[in-house]
Amino acid sequence: MTIATAIDIRDAVRSGRQTARESCQQTLDRIAAVDPLLHAFNTVVGERALARADAMDRDRGRWRDAPLLGVPVALKDNLCTRGVRTTASSKMLETYVPPHDATAVARLESAGAIVVGKTNCDEFAMGSSNENSAFGPVRNPWATERIPGGSSGGSAAAVAAGVVPIALGSDTGGSIRQPAAMTGVVGLKPTYGRVSRFGLIAFASSLDQIGPLTRRARDAAAALGAMAGLDPADATSAPREVPDYESALTGDIRGLRVGVPRRMMAAGVDPGVAHAFATAIDALAARGARVVDIELPHAPHAIATYYLVATAEASSNLARFDGVRYGFRATGDGSAPPTDLRTMYTRSRGRGFGAEVKRRIMLGTYVLSAGYYDAYYLKAQQVRTLILRDYDRAFETADVVAMPTSPMAAFRLGEKSSDPLQMYLADIFTVSANLAGLPAISVPCGFTNADTAQGGVGLPVGLQLTGRLFDEATLLRAADAYERDTEWWRHTPPVATPR
C-alpha cells in the first residue's frame, strides 16, 4: 500500500470521496503520532487548517477546479505566514509573527492547498544536517539516530513520514535537494527567478530559491506550477510564461542526453551511493536516454566559491537583526540591561544567533572587509563565472547533468557537527546549481546497504539532475519517467503508515 499523493488527495476531495476536513484531520493525526519522534514541526496550526478546510467544503463550487484542492502542505519555517509565527528556527525570531505571506505561500493557498504547520530547519537555513536549529534537531524517519539532511530537514522528514504530500523548502546550496535525498523523497530547486522570493527570510539573495519536496515528481510539478511566475514584489522573479508542468510528464525520454561528469565523482563518493547512482543511470539509458561524458572543470571549486559568496551575502542580509524593529533583544538576564545602543546591538545579536549563523556572519564580514575583498569575494565571483561557463559548455552536448545529490547517505547526529569544514564539503554536488542559477531535482534512486545495523533497510540515496535555465519541465519529465521504471518511491520508512 502506498501513501496518498497530492494529486490523489485533490481528486478524492474534488469527487467528494473525501472532504478537505478529513484530509486535513488525517495529516493532523499523523503529526500527533510521529512528530514527538521526528520533531519536524516548529508550529502546527490545526485550528486554522481545519477552519480553512471547512470553508472549502462549504463552498465546493468555487474551489472545484483548484489544482491542489484540500491538499495539506507544510512550510519551512523561514517562509513568512501572515499571523502565524515564523522563526527561521532561530532564537532571534522565536516570537516573530509576520504581517505578510510569502508569495509562494499565498499562491499555494490560492491553488487550494491548506497549510498545516511550519517545519523545523537549520537556523536561517544555514546547515546541511538540521542540527543548527535553535529548537533541537529533526530526526530522519528512516533511522531516528541519524540526521534528515538540511537545511529543509523538517520539510523532508514530514514528506518522507507520510505526514504531508507536499512541503516547501528553500535551497541556497542544496537545502531542498540534499534532505530530499537523505529521506528518500523528491526535491526540486527551481531556476533562480522562477519562484518569487518575496517573504522568504533571506540568507544569500543571489542563491536562495523556494521549491517543493514531495513523494512523486508529479506532485512537484503541480506545486511548482502553482507557485511559479512573475511577482511584482520580487524584482528578481522572471517575467516568463509558466508552462503546464504536469502535461510535460509524458514518460518519453528517448534521445534525452544525460551528461555525467565522471571525473568529478572519481573520489569521495560512498560506495553505496556510487552503486545506486550507476544503476539509476542505467535505468535512464534503458528508457532511451543517451548517456554522455561531460566535464565540469571548475566544479571541484564550487564549495570554496559558494562559502565565500553565500557568507558574504548572509553577513549583509542578517545585519537587519538588531533588536530594534523585530526579533530578540538582549535584556538583563539577571545583570543590568544594556544601557547604550551599541551594546544592545552586539549583545542581542551575540545571544540571538546560534554558533553556525555567527560563524557565517563572521566569515562573510571578513571576506567583504577592506584588504580582503579582492582576494576572496571578487575572486569567488570570478570563479562563479567559470562555473557558469562550464555548465554552458556541458549543455552543448547534454540536456541534463546527472550526479549523486550527496556523496554520502544520512550520517549520525553529532557525527560532523564539531567540524564545520567537513560538513561544508558534503555539499559538493549541490552548490554549483545555485551558483549558476540552474534548476535541479533530486529523485530517490535506491538505498545504501552499508550499514547492516539498520536491519538491512539501508539509507536512501538521491539522483540529482540539473537542467538548463527555466527548463524544469525536462527535469520533471526525466524524474517522472525514472519513477515509472523504478519503485523506490514506494518504499516507506518505519515510522510511516498509510494515510
Binding site: 504581517p99 511584482p232 553577513s315 554558533a355 563572521m362 571578513y366 582576494a375 563565472t385 557558469l388
Partner: protein, 99 residues
C-alpha cells in the same frame, strides 16, 4: 599562505559584524575560520585573468516598477513585533545613543 587568526583578529571582525562573542567563541572561531579560509584559498590558485565577476545569475530583465504611491505597512503592524515599542508615539524605543 595559510591564514592564521588570533583572538584579536576575531575580536576585530566581531566588532565589524556587531556580534558580542564570549571567550570560548573567540577561541573556537579563531581556529574554525582559519581552517575554512585555508581551504577557501584554493580559489586563489585559479587563473581568472580577464574573467568578469558574476554577482547574480538573474537573467537580465527590466524590473522597475511604476513610480506611483502605494499604501505602506500600517504603523501598528510595523510596531507589532518590536521588542520595546512606544505605541502612542509610534516609535521604536532604544537605549540612549548619546552619553
Amino acid at each position: 599562505m595559510a591564514e592564521r587568526f588570533t583572538r584579536d583578529d576575531v575580536t576585530a571582525i566581531a566588532a565589524l559584524a556587531n556580534l558580542e562573542l564570549d571567550d570560548a567563541e573567540l577561541d573556537l572561531f579563531a581556529r574554525q575560520l582559519g581552517d575554512i579560509l585555508t581551504y577557501a584559498e584554493e580559489v586563489q590558485r585559479i587563473d581568472t585573468t580577464g574573467v568578469p565577476p558574476t554577482a547574480s545569475a538573474v537573467t537580465g530583465h527590466v524590473a522597475d516598477r511604476g513610480d506611483v504611491e502605494r499604501p505602506g505597512l500600517d504603523r501598528d503592524a510595523a510596531l507589532a513585533n518590536a521588542p520595546d515599542p512606544a505605541r502612542e508615539a509610534g516609535l521604536f524605543r532604544v537605549p540612549r545613543v548619546l552619553g
